[in-house]
């Protein structure tokens, strides 16, 4: 499996490369900023790009924007965003285009080599990885115990899993051979069952997906 790593701090870039090599991954290239990263990804078409959020020149959310660009230009490349802080809003932004091949982890999670390797692998295979801290921020601690998906009907679970792949209602309807209207009804029911507070639909959709991902 081939990965590229983008982080403006040499110490972390090199350390990560060393770790990933140790884990048996192939390093296809290292980048120090977002532009370099996007170029590298287009060139190398790696399985996963590991991206730091805060990079030059403004040290704000360059990594996130780079992730969106990679999504657009190289949809097959999975993206694992690493950051020293996790923010729910960033997670929503990342997942708004579908959760396939997306990961968002705290940087310090890299200390567990096996865990890191498996995260990279999951993202490479189109899965998604969310830091427990993000999930906690998004769906709240209260649900930690019970399985939030247990009250969903099998059909609703099916719809939710397709939502998690980033599909639209129309696509889901086509896949399940039902009308779009039916899918809408299922989605509404999912929101209600998961007790997602009314908010712009996109966010509720992502929150539902996050809950789904978390509960699996």
């Amino acid at each position: 499996m081939r990965v590229v790593v983008a982080d403006d701090a040499v110490i972390l870039r090199e350390g990560l490369a060393r770790l990933l090599t140790e884990a048996g991954l192939e390093i296809a290239g290292l980048a120090a900023d977002a532009d370099e990263l996007v170029r590298l990804v287009e060139q190398q078409r790696p399985d996963v790009a590991i991206v730091d959020i805060r990079m030059p020149p403004t040290y704000t959310d360059e990594g996130l924007r780079a992730a969106q660009e990679i999504r657009a230009r190289a949809p097959d490349t999975g993206i694992l965003v690493l950051s020293q802080h996790v923010r729910a809003s960033y997670a929503l932004e990342l997942l708004s285009g579908g959760s396939q091949g997306i990961g968002y982890l705290l940087k310090e999670r890299v200390s567990d080599l096996r865990e890191l390797a498996s995260s990279v692998e999951r993202v490479a295979q189109g899965g998604s990885v969310l830091d427990p801290l993000v999930v906690e921020q998004l769906v709240g601690r209260s649900r930690a115990g019970a399985d939030p998906l247990e009250h969903l009907t099998p059909r609703e679970r099916e719809v939710l899993s397709l939502m998690a792949e980033g599909r639209s209602n129309r696509a889901i309807a086509a896949q399940l051979f039902v009308t779009e209207h039916t899918v809408e009804k299922h989605v509404k029911s999912i929101f209600a069952t998961l007790r997602l507070p009314p908010s712009p639909d996109d966010h509720r959709r992502v929150l539902a997906v996050v809950t789904y991902l978390d509960a699996r």
Partner: protein, 572 residues
């Protein structure tokens, strides 16, 4: 007094000469008019001279009056008197032109004005005299007149020619003068117009009548008696206009009385500016209040105001009380001519201005405090951002890297324990670095030495760690409040950092004293100077902090002479 007497006698003489002319008896009607003109000039001149001894207008009017009387010598029977009279018969016109052009300052305004007066002077003297050398009195001047004693060689054609040249030049100069006056009027401000209107009007009328009269002479159709009287009347109106302006200024003093009454009625001073503008007749008037704390002028709302510079057409008259400035009236430069009025207005309004000043100063102080508070908040914010960045880029990175090393070591331990040892060593080194950075950072947030040992020890430590040689001379017998210690410490720290960064200094000296309850810390370097406390400078924020403690921060940094920063904070 003697001038007035002389004028009286000259007038009587002129009248006698005029009446004594036998050839044209109906001209006796000229006498009272002529007297009126001359005496008006001399009288107005005397009044003006007394009012404004430094202004040339008075003397010019008096001389013009006498020059006017001198023209009546042409009516004398004696040849020498007649000749003298003829020779200087137009000199009064130069006085008149000077009067109108230089009003109200008494000074000519530019090279064109000066050239015009010089030209007129030549035309009425040299050209006149030249023509006299060739003019036969009977042939050229008047049939019944006494002989011309200056006659050298009678040449009618030449004399006539010179006379025509003289008249043409006279007309041209008169027209030029009208043009100048029109231009001046157009360029004048409202206040200027107000002060020169009557004189300009009378002067222009005179010039016009004069030009028409000379033009008629040139074409050989003299205006006759009516024209002459018209000229006398408009001419006499010039000194009257000057008097009117002077009287207006007297009336303006009445406006001061009105102002006093008005200020008494509206003690809140809401329309103080309006009242002052009315009293001074300058609608554009502005009031700037002195703000001593900021050493600057502010408007009513407390916003900074710049007094007008030279050449802006506006001037500021500073109003003082007890030798302290309280306000400045920013008004049209034309009002400077009426300094007495401005002074009276200032005196009348001083008390109200002082009240207004206190309020304006309060508003300015408030605005300053608000700005300083905002800067304090901003400084705190940016300090937090700095700390966050330092943590993010330093400690956090080291710790993440440490976590990686440990993860790596862990994985090695299982299948290649020998390879784990160097990784663990590396991790230990990284940890040591992280700890050092964390120590530096926490020291920067708040030096522990300051808490534990006080300012002197903290400053000493600061000097030891400074990037360039720094010495401390401190004598602080007791601890001062911690916020005072901290403020002083951070000023010194920032000053040292600045010296190391920008000053090219070779040495810094810190001097700290506690004197009569005031902590004074001075940081002086021997660098290039030229430092400023602009926005964004760390010192600006520290200055606010010091001020919040009731202290002050001063920066002295003349180019080439090093930078000295002094912070003084009362310690209660």
């Amino acid at each position: 007094m003697s001038v007035a007497l002389a004028a009286l006698m000259a007038g009587v003489g002129a009248a006698w000469l005029a009446v004594g002319r036998v050839d044209e008896p109906y001209q006796t009607a000229d006498a009272p008019l002529a007297l009126l003109v001359g005496w008006t000039f001399v009288g107005s001149g005397l009044v003006a001279w007394r009012q404004r001894p430094g202004n040339r207008l008075g003397p010019v009017m008096i001389v013009t009056g006498f020059a006017w009387f001198a023209t009546f010598l042409t009516d004398a029977h004696a040849g020498w008197a007649f000749t003298l009279g003829t020779a200087i018969q137009s000199v009064y016109l130069v006085g008149f032109a000077y009067l109108v052009l230089s009003f109200p300052t008494g000074r000519l305004r530019g090279p064109v004005d000066t050239a015009l007066i010089a030209g007129a002077a030549i035309v009425v003297t040299l050209v006149e005299w030249l023509s006299l050398l060739f003019s036969d009195s009977h042939a050229e001047l008047c049939s019944e007149c006494p002989p011309n004693v200056l006659l050298v060689d009678r040449n009618d054609a030449l004399a006539n020619g010179i006379l025509q040249v003289q008249r043409l030049s006279g007309v041209s100069l008169a027209l030029l003068m009208v043009a100048l006056l029109v231009r001046r009027w157009r360029g004048a401000t409202a206040a200027e117009r107000r002060s020169v209107a009557p004189v300009l009007l009378a002067g222009s009328a005179t010039v016009l009548v004069l030009a028409v009269s000379i033009a008629n002479d040139v074409v050989g159709e003299p205006l006759g008696q009516l024209g002459k009287w018209a000229l006398y009347c408009v001419f006499a109106s010039v000194p009257i206009a000057v008097l009117v302006v002077l009287l207006q200024r007297r009336l303006a003093r009445g406006a001061v009385a009105g102002l006093v009454v008005e200020l008494g009625e509206h003690s809140d001073g809401t329309d103080l500016r309006e009242a002052l503008a009315r009293a001074l007749g300058d609608p554009s008037l502005d009031v700037a209040y002195w703000f001593p704390t900021g050493s600057r002028y502010v408007d009513r709302e407390g916003n900074r105001m710049q007094l007008p510079g030279p050449g802006s057409g506006r001037i500021a008259t500073v109003v003082e009380r007890d030798a302290q400035p309280i306000a400045a009236l920013v008004h049209d430069a034309a009002l400077a001519e009426n300094a007495e009025l401005v002074q009276s207005v200032c005196a009348a309004a001083a008390l109200t201005l002082e009240n207004e000043r206190l309020q304006a100063a309060l508003r300015a102080r408030l605005a300053e405090l608000q700005a300083s508070r905002a800067r304090l908040v901003e400084a705190t914010e940016s300090e937090r951002r700095r700390i966050e960045r330092d943590l993010h880029d330093g400690t956090q990175q080291r710790l993440v890297s440490l976590a990686m090393s440990l993860g790596l070591a862990e994985s090695k331990l299982e299948d290649d324990p020998g390879a784990a040892a160097p990784i663990v060593r590396e991790a230990r080194e990284t940890l040591a670095l992280a700890l050092a950075e964390l120590r530096e950072l926490s020291q920067g947030i708040y030096p522990s030495l300051l808490t534990e040992r006080g300012l002197e020890a903290a400053l000493d430590d600061l000097c030891r760690r400074a990037a360039l040689p720094a010495t401390l001379d401190a004598s602080l017998p007791r601890r001062v409040p911690s916020q005072v210690e901290a403020a002083a410490y951070f000023v010194a720290s920032e000053a040292l950092a600045n010296a190391a960064k920008h000053s090219h200094a070779t040495e810094v000296r810190i001097h700290a004293r506690l004197d009569r309850g005031v902590l004074r810390v001075e940081v002086a370097d021997d660098g290039i100077g030229g430092a400023v406390t602009g926005s964004g400078s760390g010192l600006r924020g520290l200055g606010d902090r010091v001020e919040a403690l009731g202290g002050g921060l001063t920066l002295s940094s003349p180019p080439g002479q090093g930078t000295t920063i002094v912070v003084e904070i009362p310690c209660g």
